[in-house]
Symmetry: C2
Subunit: 175 residues, 2 copies
């Protein structure tokens, strides 16, 4: 959801993976929207198309041994499932950053919740638009209770336990 | 231009690079349009946005040592220059596939020229819409006079001479 800490966690994860000598790209929703979806709005359809595009780019990177970290609001279960299926089995890792609304509003540096609560944004995820939480994400963290390092630690542990970090290093992807 | 042989040359190049054990992705305009620009039309603006998106995806792949082969109609000098600047210096290779109109019409398996000449396609590159040929492309070939293997050979020679093939192999990108 907006304000849950996606960009912060993605950047820290990027730097931790990079430190291990592995190739990594962060695909940030805000950044991606300007290039992959210029001219697009924030309707449900436009937003899901953007999620699909970012997912596609991630799948291209992933199948070439590049870690792709997507930091993006993706409210629909169906679209996330679609993006999961674009990837080789076991390569798509859904990380659910959970955070209560009050906390998200408090953190709201971009003023997006202020706008949404005053109804100037008709299509705002988790306010006027539905957010469908993941049913069984690979990783779930509470960003109001866990630190950025704890969140990133959970992700790295998962990658190690599933041989996703070791596998890449063994395949000669060290740069 | 449409019908100049982009897809055919791209596929052969893909297989030649892959044979050398190097990682490569082909980004084909027709294929890309369905995922990167669904809902988009064929106006100049829409088409240039698609070129920019494909260029952006190529730059992500390229900076991670993946060969990205874009087979795409890109009529505007300015957009091609924009895409060139997204890449690290020396990594963007412009290949101009030149071919006379009569030959392109003869090859027209998809019937796109038939439509364009009968005015049912208002925005068709090199018929109703301008095509700005490259001023100084890295490589230029005449696909009506040179075979697919000759075209691909020219590209591979250029890549070798500029250390673009050797560099990738030396960087441990062998898969």
């Amino acid at each position: 959801m907006p304000g849950a800490g996606k960009t912060t966690v993605a950047r820290r994860l990027d730097s931790r993976i990079r430190t291990q000598g592995l190739p990594v790209e962060v695909l940030d929703g805000d950044m991606m929207r300007t290039i992959l979806s210029d001219g697009f709005g924030f309707t449900t359809e436009d937003r899901e198309a953007t999620v699909r595009r970012i997912g596609f780019v991630c799948s291209l990177l992933s199948r070439n041994g590049i870690y792709a970290v997507a930091a993006v609001v993706s409210p629909c279960l169906d679209t996330r499932q679609e993006v999961r299926l674009m990837h080789e089995p076991g390569r798509f890792v859904e990380v659910f950053l959970d955070c209560p609304l009050e906390q998200r509003i408090q953190r709201d540096r971009k003023g997006v919740y202020q706008n949404a609560l005053h109804e100037s944004s008709p299509d705002f995820t988790a306010i006027s638009d539905p957010y469908e939480p993941p049913v069984r994400p690979e990783i779930a963290v509470r960003t109001d209770l866990e630190s950025v390092d704890q969140c990133v630690g959970k992700i790295l542990t998962w990658l190690r336990q599933t041989n996703n970090l070791k596998a890449a290093a063994a395949a000669g992807q060290l740069v």
